[in-house]
Amino acid sequence: MSTLLIIKTVLILIVFGITLGIAMYSTYLERKVAAFLQDRVGPDRAGPWGILQPLADGGKMFFKEDFIPQKSEKWLFILGPGIAMFVACMTSAVIPWGGNLTLFGETFKLQVANVDIGILYILGFLSIGVYGIMIGGWASNNKYSLYGAVRASSQMISYELAMGLSILAVIMTSGSLSLGDIVESQHGGQWNVFYQPLAFLLFIVCAFAECNRAPFDLAECETELIGGYHTEYSSMKLGFYLFAEYINMFISSAIISVLFFGGYNFPFMDDLGLSENAITLIGVMVFFAKITFFIFFFMWVRWTLPRFRYDQLMHLGWKTLIPLAILNLMGTGAWLIFKDQF
């Protein structure tokens, strides 16, 4: 029991470190991808190819003046970015990073907690994440911040519905709410994306909206709202908001890979004839490759598509995605019954 506890603690720390590290380098990657897609070079002054740029940015963030507006709700103003960051970090707990690993005669799964309700846990914490934005936006006592907060919250509520419905179809095919079981059910190339392409499409659109990423970044669009909910923020509080956004992107990419692309499974993993530990380690790398691809995809889309208008956003959410998700759900149910009957 105690070894398990130690292993889990180490795993939590590693996951935490990796999450923060990837979020940090996502900022670098974002700027590089943006630059490359626009035929530019991007940051290349700090270290070779600008590798040290995130450290420079972080240092800059720390040394900026930490300003709290006089007419703001001081405690809530501080609480906002804290909630955003906390919630973003919490979601990584249920993601299965890899298969079984045997170390010191103890076999354990590379997952912090394989709870029964893994997918619901993620949905729950995603829906709580909006409080960070809302509280921060309201406490700033600035009309632009408030607009940003209101936009973010209404957008999140709208897209959470379609997201939940599209996930339901996946849950029906794999028959479990636990992310570990969902990954196991996709073993051997049985990736959900082949069985649930529509659900995948709906989910990825909703993921963009939930992360407040372009083309759904109305909550922080510079041209209309200055900075949206973080207009009044500076220093590391602003850094927390931006960081939370990148962590959310990382987690979303991980969830997309887990739900639709087989997580740490890769083709021909049983035919290689390697030991279980080696397979697990390759699986972890494959999983991170998938995640990196989706992070890149997030950025690729951001620098390709223009922003939605607000009414278009709501129309897409309520009148297109939700009916499609319900249709997909009913179709999946019908197919499952049909499969059982014959």
Binding site: L37, D39, R40, V41
Partner: protein, 184 residues
């Protein structure tokens, strides 16, 4: 109205087909357009690490030429200042004293000659107006500075040093000179 290019497109309000209405083909097409740019050559020139090659007749900062003996060619006639559309050039003339023949070519010379590089538009009209072939633009760039005053270039910066003559043979070709004198 006839369009100047063939690239203009007439706006139509026709009903979109199903494929157009779901937008996905358009979105994927757009994604591939940006992806293509990922593999394109970068347009950035990393100045000052690398320099973009400039032509020999590039219009950069000015130089006041000396003649073969090292005497200043400028006679402070003021034609460059008149020609200057940005009114960037000012000068004060002086009479040459005895014993200064080695310094100044003509009997009159400019004791003060200033070009405000913030006003200058680098059009090259001063070069064209000069009857004594004294002022030329060069390939050099005007470096940045923190103070406005430092952009007012006096004779100390403009007159070419005797030891380091500026080569203007590329811009002072026979065609240029003959055209200049025919126009006059």
């Amino acid at each position: 109205m006839k369009s100047l290019t063939n690239r203009s497109k007439a706006v139509s309000n026709k009903k979109m087909s199903f494929l157009e209405r779901i937008y996905l083909p358009a979105i994927i097409g757009g994604l591939f357009i940006t992806l293509k740019h990922l593999f394109k050559r970068r347009a950035t020139v990393k100045w000052p690490d690398e320099e973009r090659p400039r032509s020999d007749v590039y219009r950069g900062r000015h130089v006041l030429k000396r003649d073969e003996n090292g005497a200043e060619r400028c006679t402070a006639c003021g034609l460059c200042a008149v020609a200057c559309p940005a009114e960037a050039i000012t000068m004060t003339s002086m009479e040459r004293k005895k014993g200064e023949e080695g310094l100044y070519r003509e009997e009159k010379y400019a004791s003060v000659y200033e070009i405000n590089m913030l006003r200058c538009i680098f059009c090259g009209l001063c070069e064209e107006a000069c009857p004594k072939e004294a002022i030329f633009l060069t390939k050099e760039l005007v470096p940045t500075n923190y103070e406005r005053e430092n952009f007012i270039y006096g004779k100390d910066k403009l007159v070419e040093p005797v030891s380091k003559r500026v080569d203007v043979s590329k811009r002072q070709t026979l065609e240029v000179v003959s055209k200049k004198y025919n126009d006059r």
